[in-house]
Amino acid sequence: MSLQELYREVILDHYRNPRHRGHLPSPDVHAEGENPSCGDEFSLDLDVDGQTVAAIATQGQGCSISQASGSMMAEAVVGKSLDEIHELTSRFKRMMSIEEGESPVDEERPGSVLGDLEALQGVRRFPVRIKCADLPWTTLEDAIRRVEQGSEVLP
């Protein structure tokens, strides 16, 4: 995988036109993440309807990898149940070799399992950048954990 491919259209498109940017008027939960070593920032608002993420809005600034990962993640989680989000997060982390386990990606059919997110696979070749791709996901995990603990969901 060349750099050209890594930064291929998909990543640049999400970097320059991030999806679900902004704030929710009265979010059920808000979570913030930062990579202190490089200064990347990512935060998000969630509306949770029962067990489903009804809406997400994201904020942040940083490199193309962190911000594109956040944009793709936001697209992938709206309308999903919390269980589905756990499964998605685990698949993403296996694809990125952040977690142990086989990558779920089907090499024969690019994009068929994780959609645009598969464009981030190339980041694995740049170990110092993997944490950039991971930042939005650790922020999401923090938000979901708080939803599940019930501490943040407003009546």
Partner: protein, 410 residues
């Protein structure tokens, strides 16, 4: 005149390659590479001279002590200190500034007093003073940055009144390259009786420094940014001020007598060097100073002016590139921070590394207040030293043009 292409042969690490791609090292403001003479001095010390210093009655210990103390003499000579006893070996600039904060500032300051800083300081010349402020009730005041990346001296008279007891200023910015207005600040500080500290982490490696001519009170610097090893640096201070300060740490080496309930301190510099010091590192530091003195600090500066002028010219050819620092090489050192179009500095650093083997730093460079002032979350920074050749800059420019392509910028 320095011939950087020849000098490079003294630096084994600069021969490194990633596969077919040669390493292009443009991160000397973070740490410099080391010449063979420094590497050999450290290794020879361990092979032939190693013993603990200052307390052996045998020849080897005497040789080790001489090696350690002669490094001090060399460092003192480099900055033209009146006496080598005014040079205290520390862990580096950060440790030296913290020593001053804890033992000079804490003693000197009380509620309502002020410490004057500039907006271009490195975190290591900010955070220790915030801690002083918390302990003593003193306040921090900052000199601003002008739109052409200099320290704004217009408000100096207004800010510098009798409440200011300490002025602490970087001799050279590690982000913008700007040379600090040490003379102006020192003159103004003298007029109100404030003491002056210069963070010389970037200044001392890159320019001739004469502490007697500068007329400042303290100067701090790190060996690893001037061809020497990590783990050692120096605090220079006026003898009478160092004499008046209490030791930072107690232990061996720093006493003349120890009783059950009290002790007498050794004279400077040993009062501030409790415990076994970094002896091999000091020897390496001395060898680094020898290397620089051989080159001549005037020539080191002349080379930096040349290579920085070349870099600024070449960078001006890259469309959509913004340099955060003075355009005039005479006002700056060889640390050049920049932004390229909407490409984040981390992306730029990855592309430069991968495509051209160019090592640059990306981020806030431990100067967050400055970055906020410049309104950039991160910059990429290329920085130069005695071994930097024009070809290194050419590789940087090729990499930047390649980054534009990868990001689809026409």
């Amino acid at each position: 005149m320095i011939d950087a292409a020849t000098i490079r042969k003294d630096f084994p690490l600069l021969e490194r390659r990633y596969g077919d791609t040669p390493l292009v090292y443009l991160d000397s403001a973070a740490t410099t590479q080391k010449p063979n003479s420094v590497i050999d001095a450290i290794s020879t010390y361990y092979r032939e001279t190693n013993a603990n210093v200052h307390r052996g009655a045998y020849r080897l210990a005497d040789e080790a002590t001489t090696a350690y103390e002669s490094a001090r003499t060399k460092v003192a000579g480099l900055i033209n200190a009146r006496s080598s006893s005014e040079v205290i070996f520390t862990r580096g600039t950060t440790a030296a500034l913290n020593l001053l904060a804890l033992r000079w500032a804490d003693h000197l300051l009380s509620e309502g007093d002020r410490i004057l800083l500039t907006l271009m300081e490195h975190h290591s010349n900010i955070v220790p003073w915030q801690l002083v402020a918390q302990r003593t009730g003193a306040e921090l005041v900052y000199l601003d940055i002008t739109p052409d990346f200099a320290i704004d001296l217009d408000r100096l008279d207004e800010v510098l009144d009798e409440r200011v007891k300490i002025a602490t200023v970087s001799g050279m910015s590690n982000v913008m390259g700007t040379i600090g207005p040490v003379d102006e600040i020192t003159k103004a500080a003298r007029a109100v009786g404030a003491s002056v500290i210069v963070d010389g982490a970037q200044l001392v490696p890159h320019m001739p420094v004469d502490v007697q001519a500068l007329d400042v009170d303290f100067l701090t610097f790190s060996a690893h940014k001037m061809l020497g090893p990590t783990g050692i640096g120096a605090l220079w201070g006026r003898g009478e001020l160092l004499d008046a300060m209490e030791p930072l740490e107690g232990g061996g080496e720093m006493i003349t007598d120890v009783g059950l309930y009290e002790s007498r301190w050794a004279p400077i510099p040993h009062k501030f060097e409790a415990g076994t010091p970094p002896i091999a590192q000091a020897v390496g530091f001395g060898a680094a100073v020898d290397y620089l003195v051989d080159l001549g600090m005037d020539d080191v500066r002349a080379h930096e002016l040349d290579i920085t002028a070349y870099a600024l010219d070449r960078l001006a050819e890259v469309p959509d590139l913004t340099v955060y620092g003075p355009q005039d090489p005479a006002r700056r050192g060889g640390a050049v921070s920049f932004e390229l179009a909407d490409i984040h500095a981390h992306d730029l650093a990855t592309i430069l590394d991968e495509e051209q083997g160019v090592a640059v730093r990306a981020g806030h460079h431990c100067a967050k207040p400055l970055m906020r002032h410049l309104e950039v979350p991160a910059t990429a920074r290329a920085s130069f030293y005695v071994y930097t050749v024009p070809e290194d800059i050419d590789a940087l420019v090729i990499g930047l043009m390649r980054a534009r392509e990868i990001f689809g910028i026409a």
